[in-house]
């Protein structure tokens, strides 16, 4: 049960939930909450914990900023390449997020040691 508290596991669960609500074409409120929740937090949660900032308010801010930045860059790249597909953009973002989560799980101390934020 302890693992459930760890961001990488939560992130993988969130990514999976996103995939499921889209796969089953869940009704709007549920779908919007889960998918937008993932888009606003997922990509950031994949990498910000690696910075070991340890100050929740700062971490939340950076998670949100990184998530919005990655969402924007992925969506914009597809639009500019005239290769737009919301599904593909989401798949790329899920892949990025899961990659970050796996890095966190496999090598929790590889990037930095814990430092005061």
């Amino acid at each position: 049960m302890n693992n459930l508290r760890r961001p990488p596991v939560l992130l993988i669960l969130l990514a999976a939930a996103t995939d499921v609500v889209i796969g089953i074409n869940a009704p709007l409120p549920l779908r919007a909450v889960v998918v937008l929740g993932f888009l606003l937090a997922g990509p950031g949660l994949a990498f910000v914990p690696l910075l070991r900032i340890r100050q929740t308010s700062v971490e939340i801010t950076l998670v949100l900023a990184l998530s919005l930045a990655l969402d924007t860059l992925v969506a914009e790249a597809l639009v500019l390449a005239q290769f737009w597909s919301a599904g593909l953009a989401l798949a790329v973002l899920i892949a990025i997020s899961v990659t970050g989560a796996v890095v966190q799980l496999l090598a929790p101390g590889v990037v930095t040691r814990e430092v005061e934020g």
Partner: protein, 645 residues
């Protein structure tokens, strides 16, 4: 110079611990509420009261009563009582060092909800004409799967095709979120963007300010002073948030200070002297430093990660908005020039990213607009225009004066607060540099007449910090009972200005469901290649298949020069000629309540002219009404059967 830093906290700790033990013992005997609980209980009760009063207010807002003073004229007394209670509660909560941060956070959240959530919840429709145009841009991406940087400037959204980041993001949100269009969530944008700005503001203020009272009062003051309305569904709101985060990271982990004069020997004089001057300013600061220039402890890899994040944010900013990249260059540059940033190449990197985007991706827009961009450079007077209060309605003149008063008040408070902190030995040179950084843009460009507002917007966080410092200039100051009263008095003044300045144009920014129905009918039925004419451009427009139509307005910003004279002298002939142009497959003229409100409020036509024109158009021999409700009417020429839906 007063005593050393954090003296009050050192003094406070021991007695506080003894006091806590005593309080705890008395609390056990049931005589007193423990201090920690009291610090939460009182504001908690107040916040619950504020929420209840606000909820009650929502049921009693009569939008039909809205006058030229805007939303404030339609709000019930309970709303103002809620605001007053919230302000009083915040004033005492922020003053009490025992108040947990989350309680202060809830106060700021409620302030944002009351100011920005009220229109979103009460209107039931998306407010502000530009929001609808941006919804149209998202609609374009969803239909084409691409943007068209070469699209005609006449389309009205050509800049958005060249900086599409925000719209691509919104298209992603729309489609994967299961929405039918961005209008399903765009109304909540002001609430969302204001809420997420709390985080980076705390990051920026937390970089150097150790006094939590000052940090939170600065955040509070920022939201009281943020009247410019750049929080709607637009690229500016997104890039502003990202910009604040980038600045916050820069201040927190990449701050620096000038080297002492002894270390500067041997350097060329032109490098030595500026640094020496800044160094001397620092030396005067001495032990009173509130942390200025001391970066947080971090590992090299942490810094690499954080710098990578800044570069990523810079990329998104440069590809999503025209103005924010320049504000970022100036802000990062100001920090470097003031020797406050160790990331010395960051402004250059930001400039390279910005120039690369402008030259290779957005050249269609930049090249086509280069003439007027160069033309407006150096035109300080033209770039700093404000509303002509002699031309607008009485209510709007008051609103314009309130906006100016609020701006001046924030500026004066900021100046006074800066002086007060200076006298306490605190230089805040990084914040000073950041506050000054946006001002050169006044010389660079008019930005469609909005540059002054944007400069204010980008300087606001730091000016708000200085304004808050007037009450809490140093950790040991502002301890008397007068401080919360000062917070209440200043907040009351700022709130009065904010309610008028931010919500003062809501009579035209609000679109009734009837108006939205009329516009929806028009776009659902107009054939591709049609001409869509608005009495002004203030109506829900361009939100569907926008590139298939040509949009013009009889009055306002997009109306052709000289057109108004003809319109006023012989409106029937002018409109008949315009609408019978065979270049278009069909033509429609839409007149709405909000357009009339804008024409009246901004004095675009002499009083009664639009009503007179509408009466003339109702002549069945020339025009047919194809749609009409209480708030909108759509005309088409009687002799063009193809215009009939």
């Amino acid at each position: 110079m007063s005593g050393p830093i954090y003296t009050h906290e050192v003094r406070a700790h021991k007695p506080r611990a003894q006091e806590a033990r005593g309080v705890s013992a008395r609390a056990k005997r049931g005589l007193m509420i423990p201090r920690g609980i009291a610090a939460v209980l009182a504001p908690g009760v107040a916040l619950a009261g504020v929420a209840a009063l606000w909820a009650l207010s929502l049921r009693n807002i009569d939008l039909g009563q809205m006058t030229d003073l805007g939303l404030v004229s339609a709000l019930p007394a309970t709303y103002f009582v809620a605001l007053a209670l919230l302000t009083a509660s915040f004033a005492f909560a922020v003053h009490d060092r025992e108040t947990p941060p989350w309680v202060l956070f809830l106060h700021v959240v409620l302030l944002i909800v009351l100011i920005h959530g009220t229109p979103s919840l009460v209107y039931g429709t998306v407010r502000y004409a530009w929001t609808w145009k941006h919804i149209g841009m998202v609609d374009y991406i969803l239909r084409h799967g691409a943007v068209n940087p070469d699209i005609s400037a006449l389309s009205g959204l050509s800049a958005n095709h060249n900086w599409p980041g925000f719209f691509a993001l919104s298209a992603l949100f729309t489609q994967v979120g299961g929405f039918t269009g961005a209008q399903q969530f765009a109304a909540l944008a002001p609430l969302f963007f204001n809420l997420i700005d709390i985080g980076p503001l705390l990051l920026i203020f937390g970089a150097f300010i150790r006094d939590s009272r000052l940090r939170w009062l600065a955040v509070w003051t920022f939201f009281l002073g943020n009247w410019v309305g750049q929080d709607y569904f637009a690229p500016q709101a997104l890039t502003y948030f990202l910009f604040l985060v980038a600045v916050g990271i820069c201040l927190t982990w990449f701050s620096a200070r000038p080297r002492p004069p002894a270390e500067l020997a041997g350097r060329p004089w032109w490098l030595r002297w500026p640094e020496r001057i800044w160094s001397r300013l620092d030396a005067a600061q001495g032990a009173q430093d509130d942390g200025d220039g001391v970066p947080r402890r971090s590992t090299p890899l942490q810094r690499v990660g954080l710098m990578a994040l800044i570069v990523l944010l810079a990329g998104v900013i440069a590809s999503s908005h025209q103005l924010t990249p320049f504000m970022a260059i100036l802000s990062f540059g100001a920090l470097v020039l003031a020797y406050r940033s160790s990331a010395r190449t960051l402004p250059i990197l930001m400039a390279v990213i910005t120039a690369t985007w402008a030259m290779y991706i957005a050249w269609a827009f930049v090249g086509g607009n280069l003439a007027w961009i160069i033309d407006s450079f150096g035109e300080l007077g033209r770039n700093s225009t404000v509303t002509d209060v002699a031309r607008v309605s009485q209510g709007q003149a008051l609103v314009a004066l309130a906006a100016r008063g609020l701006t001046a008040l924030i500026g004066l408070l900021g100046f006074a607060g800066f002086v007060r902190r200076w006298r306490k030995g605190k230089r805040d040179l990084a914040y000073l540099a950041l506050a000054a950084a946006p001002f050169p843009m006044l010389v660079a460009n008019s930005y469609g007449g909005e540059m002054m507002f944007r400069v204010y917007f980008f300087a606001l966080p730091y000016v708000a910090l200085f304004a808050a410092a007037l009450i809490y200039p140093a950790p040991g100051s502002g301890t008397s009972w007068r401080a919360p009263l000062g917070v209440m008095a200043v907040s009351g003044l700022l709130l009065g200005g904010l309610l008028l300045a931010y919500g003062g144009r809501e009579r035209m920014n609000y679109f009734t469901p009837n108006e939205v129905d009329a516009a929806t009918y028009l776009y659902r039925n107009a054939p591709a290649g049609a001409l869509v004419i608005g009495a002004s451009d203030n109506y829900p427009s361009l939100f569907q298949n926008y590139e298939q139509y040509t949009h013009v307005a009889l009055t306002g910003r997009t109306a052709a020069r000289g057109q108004q004279v003809t319109l006023e002298s012989d409106p029937l002939t002018f409109i008949t000629t315009l609408m019978n142009d065979d270049t278009f497959t069909a033509s429609y003229l839409i007149i709405t309540r909000s357009q009339k409100a804008q024409i009246e409020m901004d004095g675009l036509l002499p009083p009664g002219t639009m009503e007179h024109i509408e009466q003339l158009l109702r002549r069945p021999d020339r025009f047919r009404i194809i749609y009409e409700n209480e708030d909108a009417v759509i005309f088409t020429p009687a002799g063009r059967p193809e215009s009939a839906p």
